[in-house]
Symmetry: C2
Subunit: 451 residues, 2 copies
């Protein structure tokens, strides 16, 4: 893993001619430039870059040749990738192309850009509130990890008080394959699923709407360059396969999960919807916020050699602060503001993104550009750092109070969950991930079929 | 579920002008007509139909308008789907289109076809041994079930002798999400994976090539028509979402699996390769071989209503006989023929394909055309019906003898595993699935990286 390379794109005082980007509260200053896929009103899907309260339409930019960079003959593949309707081709080009593109966009959006460039690009900016954000890539495969030791310990202690962490946890980055078809963009309603549950171990199970629907605050890692089947990715090269990070809400039905998950893991409890935030914050944008890997205790084993890399240990983490916000139907009706349920740091994860990548490919499994690896629920050690309702309300035993006097053990219909993420530190410009939003809607009537 | 409708395409005495199809030993008589995707020498991928020892190039047929059917204006979508390089579009058109296409191809390949049609089609036939078979569809998501109660009981009793079947087994069609990226066509070599294993519970795990590599004999169900996210598929309609069946070998690394699978299920132990047979035998071709669902015991619970359908119970199974054949390097060197390791019937599965489909979508999870649902290892109650080496050699305690004097507890490098499947009954023409072949190659050297 290379050291964090800071350049003019990270300068805290860099400013954009898109004025809203210079607002200190904006998630999308010129130091960020996250990629996404959007549909303008009446238009079709295309790649965009967030800048302040605007989205730069990369397809239009490529078409107009407004950025000199795109006209260089060597960047034909990059130009084509920018004109696509998903990020996969751009992700496939690897980190050097992603870096070059980022620098070119930075220069074009900077206050130092020639007036002609500013004029040309002005026509390719859409108000961010007027576009529809889509899932950033065509996700070929979605993998969900379990990388927060705090989450694993909390959940484990509910079910195995004497032995919360299984013997493999500190050796194996535990993960499982998720469902790609049901990945939805931020803002999509999420229908409460039906499923089998068994409340009483002496009675047969029943089938009906989940009574224990939950969210999970996660960080998604979008794969850049892929690897051929059969060809593992050494930990020292794993970094090169990370395109960027995004917010992920891995909706879960805890009652379905408890009944179905032995012996092959979660299935229907997790496959009814996974919401992905619209903006992928690139590895380059995150350079100022790199952080040491989890500080293992003296009794903890060292990572096995295939997961061990000194640069990864010293700077393979990302200092992203992550929050969950909730508003109920009644809160919105009464004009109450959303409440923050938790706030935790991504640095608390037991495994780094590079370790997740290297582990995933260690069997020879091929990762493809645009694949999504989610971190698992991001929880910290404190109660207000617990990243899902199962932990926060401790399996329903410690209900969460809302400002309306309502309480929550799990999610109710009409509850809207919004995830947010941002990075800030002295001397660097704060950057953000936007939001990952979803509202719980009622289960289908009857046996589960829509009327 | 509709009753099995037999028509002229199922008549046992129907014959093709492709003479090899009339050989009683052929897997591909005119009563079968399975779909696949192939590359002719020097050509690109296209859809084909197996007939005797030939493959009919559907793209060429569409281009030449040799089958009158394709020229009808209403079948434009079907014509386009036949010209694609994967079966997804054809699968998406649903069972009526698949039926119409099958009948049209039957008529064109029948000895009753006009001479002009026979002449035109002759140019579009490739010798089956000279083409490269590919994975039949672009598999968006791959799901692996665990539907053989014999397999589940065998595996469970190795690990929990007093309580082999978990309490959920007879209620929940247990399944998990698999890896789509590593699905490979029949004939692909399969590289032994590296991974973490722990032989001694008192020692730390180690990382290296799997020592317990295994095959799993499975049947794959290719999804035809999909369902929208949030919209479950009632059991009575599940039938309409089945395009056809194919052979699947879900390669497994048992030592990796044992160490990693708690609490979220198998991951690297299963994602290094899954081999899919080249031919998808359609639901229509299987009509003469429909069979009752598993006969549950008096003490077994009835399926919950969302999995219960009287037509499915009486005729939702498929009487497919499935075999596993093995040859070692040494066997091939000494000219020994492959040995049959097991033979079992797909009718022994505890859940029908329609139940697997209905369960999968019961959460609202969307299935897409071309998705693959595998049955799980097909084992019967007898020892020679055990569909994986883990069961056959009973966790290594009962090694399997080979004709060379070699023994097998698990697979060795150079072992070639071939799955076969066929349907036969009095009064019907036997049909087959071709083969699903894979040879185990050595693990990458060193830490897992190819040199």
């Amino acid at each position: 893993m290379p050291p964090a390379q800071l350049d003019r794109t990270h300068a805290a005082d860099a400013r954009s001619w898109v004025e809203s980007a210079n607002d200190a509260a904006s998630d999308f200053p010129i130091q960020n430039l996250p990629f996404g896929v959007f549909r303008p009103r009446g238009g079709d899907a295309r790649i965009g870059v967030a800048i302040g309260d605007r989205v730069l339409d990369l397809r239009a930019v490529v078409g107009s040749c407004a950025i000199e960079f795109f006209m260089k003959p060597e960047s034909e593949a990059l130009g084509a990738a920018c004109g696509a309707d998903a990020l996969n081709s751009l992700m496939a080009l690897g980190s050097e192309s992603a870096h070059a593109l980022r620098v070119a966009i930075f220069d074009a959006l900077s206050t130092d850009a020639p007036q002609a460039v500013q004029s040309a690009l002005s026509d390719s900016l859409h108000p961010i509130g007027e576009v529809e954000l889509l899932v950033p890539s065509r996700v070929g495969d979605y993998t969900d990890f379990y990388a927060s030791i705090h989450h694993a310990t909390n959940v484990g202690s509910m079910f195995r008080p004497d032995n919360p962490l299984l013997p493999n946890y500190k050796y194996v980055p535990i993960g499982y394959h998720g469902r790609a078809s049901s990945i939805v963009p931020s803002g999509s309603p999420v229908r409460r699923p039906h499923g089998q549950t068994r409340d009483d171990a002496s009675a047969p199970p029943s089938f009906g709407p989940s009574k224990r629907m939950d969210y999970e605050l996660e960080v998604g890692i979008f794969v850049g360059k892929g690897n051929p089947l059969g060809d593992p990715i050494p930990i020292g090269e794993a970094w090169e396969h990370i395109f960027g990070l995004a917010l992920v809400n891995d909706w879960s039905a805890r009652d379905l999960q408890a009944w179905e998950y032995q012996p092959l893991g979660p299935f229907l409890a997790k496959n009814f919807a996974t919401t992905v935030g619209g903006w992928v914050v690139t590895r380059d944008a995150l350079a100022p916020f790199r952080a040491p890997a989890f500080a293992r205790g003296d009794d903890d084993p060292a990572p096995l050699p295939y997961l061990s890399d000194s640069a990864d240990q010293s700077a393979g983490g990302f200092a992203v602060t992550l929050e969950v916000w909730l508003s109920s139907d009644r809160m919105r009706a009464e004009g109450a503001k959303p409440v923050r349920l938790s706030r935790a740091s991504f640095t608390g994860m037991y495994w780094t993104p590079a370790q997740l990548i290297a582990h995933h490919a260690s069997s020879g499994c091929n990762l493809r550009p645009g694949d999504l690896l989610a971190s698992g629920t991001v929880s910290g050690p404190a109660k207000d750092e617990r990243g899902c309702m199962l932990e926060l309300a401790w399996r329903g035993t410690e209900p969460v109070a809302l400002p309306t006097g309502e309480t929550r053990r799990f999610l109710e219909d009409g509850d809207e969950v919004v995830l947010r993420g941002y990075c800030e530190r002295p001397g660097a410009r704060r950057i953000g991930f936007g939001e990952c939003r979803g509202i719980v809607t009622s289960a289908p009537p009857g046996s589960g079929r829509r009327p």
